[in-house]
Amino acid sequence: MPLLTVTDLRTHFHTRNGRYRAVEGVGFSVERGETLGIVGESGSGKSVTCYSIMGLVPQPPGRIESGSAMFDGVDLLRCAPRLARSIRGKRVSMIFQDPMTSLNPYMRISEQVIEPLLIHENITKREALFRALAMMEAVGINDAAQRIHYYPHEFSGGMRQRVMIAMALVTRPELLIADEPTTALDVTVQAQILELIRSLQHELGMAVIFVTHDLGVVAGLCNKVLVMYAGRVVEAADTDTLFREPLHPYTRALQRSLPALHSKGEELFTIPGLPPDVSKPLPGCAFAPRCGYAAEACTAAVPELAQAAPGHWHACMRVRAGEIDFGAGGTDQ
């Protein structure tokens, strides 16, 4: 049985300017010890998906319209708040994009790192401090015994992200949700943090949901990938398959617009237009207005996810009907 199964999650924001359909029917599952990547552009709903699972969507204006998130037999979206609280922060933790704003500037690091332990486990402050120290060392903070008593502003960006990871992992969670944890960091520091997540995951055997917009990070870290567009999943597959034979036109376009895969000076492939406005209901496939393969049928009905091969899902009705031949080597269009 998967560790976490999300089905038909719909999270909307009701604002004065209308209803923003941030997440519109997302489903996926994560097995124990596995790494799932969620990729998409800004506004595709990848962060809101994570926030919904963690109960961090402000309500109002947000509302979880439907769906379930079954974690080890408990529906995190519908169960009693007490039960959800005993799971969130202990068995499921989250790290955020910006380590500057996610640590409390008024609290010493020590207090922040032991907080989850004091809440979730019946131990003394002394023992908690001891375990926090061990975790600070595990995430590669030198002189942890001394620096644990510092305030957040006394750490650099990379070190703060390490502190946040220590905070998330101190309760030894079974699932870590990482929302763009390296986007605000330099590449050399990003490499350190990714290496750290990889080795800790190996040690603790936890599952990871890694949200990013960087296909390169996904390629190096994840077993499975979910591609999101305008609040919906458009393609899901294991990493090798997704990079080798992407099926959805959006995934293909995203991959082909990366400079790394072009020869020098060659014109980059671009996706025309802009991501859609999610405040209006979309009659058909959300990508159709920007898609080079769109036909009339694409704007008539929302395409369902269909399985092309075991474990490889996509939401393109023209691919499913066999009407698009991408050709070998991606020389289409």
Binding site: V187, V217, G220
Partner: protein, 330 residues
């Protein structure tokens, strides 16, 4: 070197650091740019890469004289910008324009696109009031915006479109050189490609020189003819783009290249990563000798002794490391 459009000779930019509460005194300085020499030729794209805090943006602003240089000279078209009078500087600015990272912050929210683009044309007397509309329309077409949007305000545009407006503003005076400070870092991947294509085509078509600052090496490799790698205020490697990124020689460039994730699972699994320990040191108190030695996997005692100069290590390829010869086969 003499035919260079823009030449930097040993440019230094320091910021004073003050301490003390009642009696403020200068207690040191941040050496943001510490001895950079470079030449940029007409029509050339020079990529400038490095981690945050290495001085790339300060260098850009020093070139444009937005921040005065502490030492060294910036020479544009044979004229030393440091000694130029106000009037001369105004004339020089025509040739030298800038595009900033954040198109949300760099456009005046209370000016329409038309006003934003017309201002430089009128200030520099490029055209009379009567011809302004035609010129503005032409600029908008060049960067791929429909002229009918001229009366709109910046907030009515998306990030990519705003960056196009910023590009149009930089082009208004028909400059010879544009300094672009991380122009695509704030944009989504699919929009990034549009702006990169635009910049690349403009440079080719108008024979524009471009100093392209970025931290994404794959973007820099794609667009640049030459690449300069900066670390703590100095250039540590300089050469043709493919040479520097595919066959880096300086240990820092090697680590930087190896840290870039490649969007291909097979390559990611197979490659050897060099994970650097620590973070860039503080430019207030840089380490003695080679500034990279505390993080360098190949550092020796003699790396601490003096700052290594750029030394040739291939055709038009230079790197600042005293162990270049010994490390060649790595």
């Amino acid at each position: 070197m003499s035919d260079a459009l823009l030449e930097l000779r040993d440019v230094r930019t320091y910021f004073p650091v003050h301490s003390g509460f009642l009696v403020r005194r200068q207690s040191g300085s941040v050496r943001a740019v510490d001895g950079v020499s470079l030449a940029v030729h007409q029509g050339e794209v020079l990529g400038l890469v490095g981690e945050s805090g290495c001085g790339k943006s300060t260098l850009a602003r020093t070139i444009l004289q937005l921040i005065p240089a502490t030492g060294g000279t910036v020479i544009l078209n044979g004229r030393n910008l440091g000694e130029a009078t106000r009037a001369q500087m105004l004339a020089c600015r025509r040739d030298l324009q800038m595009i900033f990272q954040d198109p949300h912050a760099s456009l005046n929210p209370r000016m329409t696109v038309h006003a934003t683009l017309a201002e430089p044309l009128l200030v520099h007397g490029i055209c009379g009031r009567k011809d302004v509309k035609g010129q503005v329309d032409e600029l908008m077409r060049i960067v791929g915006l429909a002229p009918r949007f001229a009366r709109k305000y910046p907030h009515e545009f998306s990030g990519g479109q705003r960056q196009r407006i910023a590009v149009a503003r930089a082009l208004a005076l028909r400059p010879k050189i544009i300094v672009a400070d991380e122009p695509v870092s704030a944009l989504d991947v699919s929009i990034q490609a549009q702006i990169l294509n635009l910049l690349y085509q403009l440079c080719r078509r108008m024979n524009l020189a471009l100093i392209f600052i970025a931290h994404d090496l794959s973007v820099v490799r794609h667009i640049s003819d030459r690449v300069a790698v900066m670390y703590l205020g100095r250039i540590v490697e300089l050469g043709p783009a493919e040479e520097v990124i595919d066959r880096p020689r300086h240990p820092y460039t090697r680590a930087l290249v190896s840290a870039i994730p490649v969007p291909d699972p097979a390559i990611e699994r197979a490659r050897r990563r060099i994970v650097l320990a620590g973070e860039p040191p503080s430019p207030i108190n840089p380490p003695p000798g080679c500034a990279f030695h505390p993080r360098c996997p190949h550092a020796l005692d003699r790396c601490r002794e003096s700052v290594p100069p750029l030394a040739p290590c291939g055709e038009a390829h230079e790197a600042a490391c005293i162990r270049l010869g010994e490390l060649a086969d790595l």
